[in-house]
Symmetry: C2
Subunit: 459 residues, 2 copies
């Protein structure tokens, strides 16, 4: 019985609310390796590019219009837009935009997209507080540590149950980050986590609708509000995370408590963050990666007679659409991914535009692609071989796609991804300046300068 | 296995998101009996009194201070205060205050406190829209119907799992009420319910902290925001409530779908709403009721030699504190409840003040009370007998306490409860005017007049 399981689980539950609160409140600034620090910059850069990139999307237009009914004060920036809103609404809106293209970051152990809730809340509050870049990055590392550790202790049962784990753990990460920025002590930080624990956000049923990116946004807003409430003396249970009728046991049947505290302050979950190089489901990435490599080896689309893919059955099950009619369908077509990689050498959001998906040369190349199932090949791998008009055959085998933990995106590739997204919104000059600001964020005396760069010029 | 149960349950799931959305969007104004209409007025009056009463509580001070960091525009009223805030924050704050004393209303089948989320969201939005009282009452009836029907289909498993059902169903009720006020069509109303479905609020672990009353407040804010998003074209799953990874199957193992739709538009859940006559746990109510009746029969505290209670074992298990040291402990003391009923003839929030709980005559009478367990007596009943100094013995047996469905509070008693709470905040004159406005709410051309009466005079 569920009730017995809960009680049994609780007997083993350490006081993780207090432990995590103490960690967030007292861990020293930059108390981690250079590698962790570097990953924090990359996480922030990648998040900011995604938020800027989707700033003019229909979901953002709708959300901004709704928020403006509240007549918000101009306290904080909406990345990629000229409007300013109150900090809670800025957290909401930046959380929505950064996840709109499903192109942000992934903590692979839990499939949490950690920056959306945490960075969105932290930047809005930091901008209002006129905090330093150092303080923001500290908040980002600690906030992501909290949400991913809570994810670790519940995954996969919590996700299987139906929760969109990015939003359901995100309010905790956002609360932790904001508590840190506000300088709350351990007790007040525990209150912030406690208030946030009552606000898990997100159902998997929403995938494919605007409410999916709403999840990290609403989690960001909930976490930020929770920290403000705690700062002003609002109270919550001191055992909100671990108690029998607390957060974890209410939203998950798995509660591996040790995940919350193992190597706390030594191992940082942001080290395991990855960034999507391609704007589509992760299962197509190995094929696109191989196709880009073929192109880099000199294979030209016009010389191709046929292309043969060998992939795990899951790839075709999820992305076997042979004749996608538009951009959305193309995200579920391994055939389109292959053609895009060969023709453009990339597969960002622009390469999934409707007019690209239906362009003659793209359609023609796509029709030359055949796929064979081979379950001896790993789900994360792909074999791609091109037969050319002159009879030559060129093959690329990808064991770990670019963007995986084994083959992380280079800093240059991350900047190229950022530019792809930001240039249409901000222009090339401002995009370059914003990249530089994100790169040097830890040394910025005020994050306001960075936020200002993410605002398009007038007109 | 949980996963199999979910799939099995889904096969039987009718499209309740669409059905409820159509009901909320198209049911005619005042399409119910006079009894339902009367209960709607009572629900609103009782809610407003609770919100005004707690307007100066510490939880409200903290919440208001946190919200004011966002520098909200003065769009809507906070009942019992002079501050005005944006409508989403007004929904949050009125939701918090109305549940702070745990003295509001109860839908007994689900122990949902329905007005907190629904009325708080509806009044804030109605005030902003300059809506009529008729529109507000329609929204209240329909919103409460949605949250309580969703509660019916999941109770008790959902509550047992750890959810504070008032908040976890409240965002749906608030979304329905606000969608109705905005005049959304069936599709947009379904989107509002869908967005709200991703935001269940509330853990039972928070009971005893300020986060408990935060739950209806956060649910009110979530529902209101969801309706605004839907109005501006934001999308959600059309099957957000009933899909396998939708709301009900994610937060509950019981999904009795028919509860959502049985007699929809014929039976209204607000008919089953009850109001707490006494500001403490419901299990003490029969004893207080009996004690008040003894007083009304002429029994005077100073003549009492001893009092004997015969109650179900649950009463002493939950409220057996013999020497409460303060107001909070007194809420868990059936002995104090008995003494308060005999001395004051009532047991509102003032009768649980620290200085009352420790007053000599109250302590002296409390010590004359003994309690005996008798499990042949119903949990909702009590036998109270007083032995007087002259040797006489007077007994009162209560089978159904005042405030239960069998013995509802009279309109006069509801007004007295309102006055008890509102007069210390608004003064007697304004309180009387506000009661009259709540009584005549369905005929008010604008709810703004009512909201203005709930604002204390300057100084």
């Amino acid at each position: 019985m569920a009730r017995n399981t809960q009680v049994a689980a609780d007997h083993a539950a350490p006081p993780i609310t207090q432990i995590l609160a103490g960690f967030v409140a007292t861990h020293p600034s930059r108390g981690w390796s250079n590698a962790v620090e570097h990953e924090a910059q990359r996480t922030f850069l990648n998040w900011a590019g995604c938020a800027v990139g989707a700033a003019t999307h229909e979901a953002m237009r709708a959300a901004l219009a709704a928020v403006q009914v509240l007549q918000p004060t101009a306290q904080a920036s909406v990345l990629g837009r000229r409007e300013q809103v109150d900090i809670a609404s800025a957290a909401l809106l930046n959380g929505i935009s950064s996840h709109t293209f499903d192109f942000d970051d992934t903590h692979l152990l839990t499939i949490i997209h950690p920056a959306g809730p945490v960075a969105s809340a932290a930047l809005a509050l930091a901008e209002h507080l006129d905090a330093s870049g150092r303080a923001l990055i500290d908040a980002l590392v600690l906030g992501i540590d909290v949400s991913c550790r809570i994810g670790n202790l519940m995954y996969p049962e919590h996700y299987d149950r139906g929760w969109h784990i990015t939003g359901s753990t995100g309010s905790l990460g956002a609360a932790a980050a904001c508590a840190r920025l506000l300088g709350l002590d351990t007790h007040a930080t525990a209150m912030a986590l406690g208030i946030a624990a009552s606000q898990p956000v997100g159902l998997r049923e929403q995938f494919g609708t605007m409410t999916k990116p709403f999840h990290p946004g609403a989690a960001a807003r909930a976490g930020l509000t929770s920290a403000l409430l705690a700062q002003h003396g609002f109270t919550a249970s001191t055992r909100a995370l671990e108690a029998p009728r607390g957060y974890a046991q209410t939203v998950s049947t798995k509660c591996a408590w040790h995940e919350a505290t193992d190597e706390l302050g030594e191992r940082f979950e942001i080290s395991f963050n990855t960034y999507k190089p391609f704007a589509c489901g992760i299962v197509i990435h190995p094929v696109i990666d191989a196709s880009v490599q073929l192109r880099e080896q000199g294979v030209r689309a016009e010389d191709i007679q046929r292309i043969e893919l060998r992939v795990h059955s899951l790839v075709l099950e999820l992305t076997g659409k042979q004749e996608p009619a538009n951009g959305l369908e193309a995200k579920f077509s391994v055939y389109h991914g292959c053609a895009a990689g060969l023709i453009f050498g990339r597969a960002g959001e622009p390469q999934f535009a409707d007019e690209i998906v239906t362009r003659d040369d793209v359609v023609a190349l796509r029709r030359k692609v055949t796929a064979t199932v081979d379950d001896s090949i790993d789900e994360a791998a792909a074999h791609v071989s091109a037969t050319l008009a002159d009879g030559r055959r060129v093959q690329v085998v990808v064991e770990h796609a670019i963007g995986s933990l084994k083959r992380p995106m280079s800093d240059a590739a991350l900047e190229a991804k950022f530019s792809d997204q930001a240039e249409p919104v901000l222009g090339a000059d401002r995009t370059a300046q914003l990249i530089a600001a994100c790169r040097g964020i830890a040394d910025l005396p005020s994050v306001r300068a960075l936020a200002a760069l993410a605002r398009p010029a007038a007109g």
